[in-house]
Subunit: 225 residues, 2 copies
DNA sequence: GCAATAGTGTCTATTAGACAATATGGG
DNA sequence: CCCATATTGTCTAATAGACACTATTGC
């Protein structure tokens, strides 16, 4: 093992990519094609390349592009995972991001994938993931839920135009909890995140439902500084 | 410049150490003793040493110990700052933490310091800090304020025993906003974070004030996962 | 008693949840 | 008309802020 491995940590990014699929909150898993942890399911991730990446967030976008050919509308840092034990290749730092993908682009991801990939229920994947990715997924899901819990709207998980019922249903899938319809809508009325699309409705065997879209400038990111 | 510099990023940790001093929220600044940014005030920080550090949080603790000989009761990751431009030495990743120091240990830090250090008002230091540390301090202060805003008690900024008035005053200094006394105390009564110390009071020219302490197991950390 | 701060009680405005009522298109 | 779902209204409980009141000590 070279000297650099003990003096420089391995820096990588991992991404928990969330979307709504099969009426649940799903996370994208990829099957590892290399040692270590060959053939085990994992969050998409990759090693930072300073010559290619402007910063860690760019690295995360590059990884998603390389593994599953997808551009995501929202990407946010969660936290780091570090130490000598988490990866057998040596002392490593993984910077975890989560990303949101609109539900209407779920199929595109699977069909354009480069490596073997699949959607799994975010809360219970049914696999033991590679490395510390089970903990990472827990942390990413916790971060997403906290945001929605504090009333930030996960609009990036929806098509560009959506009904209030669809939005409520999305929040319910994330938090695994039902909301009261009247209270939910009352809150949205006083929010500046949404605007109705005049004259646009979804029709069915019932009263037409008004379509809404995100106000220009809407962002899921926290008002950090 | 060696090849390693372009293949491996420089990984370092920076710490915004907060405390209450001179009746305000202070942050500890150290004067840089080396190039680059020689003699400029900065957040204490240092390069990760995989042979010494179990993980990034340990690295942050080691840096505080080395620069100002202090052990902090609370340390929490904020986010990363990364890219080729933030440090003239090359592509770098800085992992930012904030730390809380009890007010009764403020003097000890300054007197035991190894490098030149001082406390400055956290919200307006009065300096342009080295590298991107102005942005880092903004982010750390934002993270601390969000926590207090969502009703987490910054008990690590107080002595082990304190009055409710002192606790309220600390919160007010952090958020730069006054609270209503009755509402503040009502909230604390239903919280499980505090317990009265039976028979312990602070006496003065007024009615004695009950002393409180943190319940065993209290933590300022977020219930992440 | 007086000053000073500790600690409590009360009123009101706001908000969330429960639940019911009304609206409107397709068949 | 009937069904299904959209959308709105009402009642109530919980909570936060404003403000005032009472309590207890040193002097």
């Amino acid at each position: 093992m070279s000297v650099t491995k003990t003096l420089f940590p391995l820096v990588s990014v991992d991404v928990a990519l969330f979307s709504i699929e099969r009426d649940r909150l799903g996370v994208l898993l990829v099957k590892r094609a290399n040692e270590p942890e060959l053939h085990r399911w994992a969050l998409p991730g990759g090693v930072l390349k300073p010559d290619l990446d402007a910063n860690l967030e760019s690295a995360a976008r590059r990884v998603l592009q390389a593994k599953i050919s997808v551009d995501v509308p929202h990407l946010e840092e969660v936290r780091t995972f570090s130490g000598a034990e988490r990866d057998p290749r040596g002392w490593s730092v993984a910077v975890l991001f989560y990303a949101l993908l609109p539900a209407d682009r779920v199929q595109a991801v699977i069909s354009s994938k480069i490596e073997e990939a699949k959607w799994a229920p975010a809360a219970r994947t049914g696999h033991r993931l590679a490395f510390d990715h089970d903990r990472q997924l827990d942390a990413a899901l916790g971060a997403l839920r906290r945001k929605v819990e504090e009333h930030t709207l996960p609009l990036h998980l929806l098509p560009s135009r959506f009904t209030l019922t669809a939005l409520q249903h999305t929040c319910e899938l994330i938090l695994e909890r039902r909301f009261d319809k009247a209270a939910f809508r009352r809150r949205l009325k006083t929010s500046s995140d949404l605007q109705a699309v005049p004259g646009e409705f979804v029709r069915g065997v019932q009263r037409p439902a008004q379509l809404y879209e995100a106000r220009p400038g809407f962002t899921f990111a926290r008002s950090s500084s």
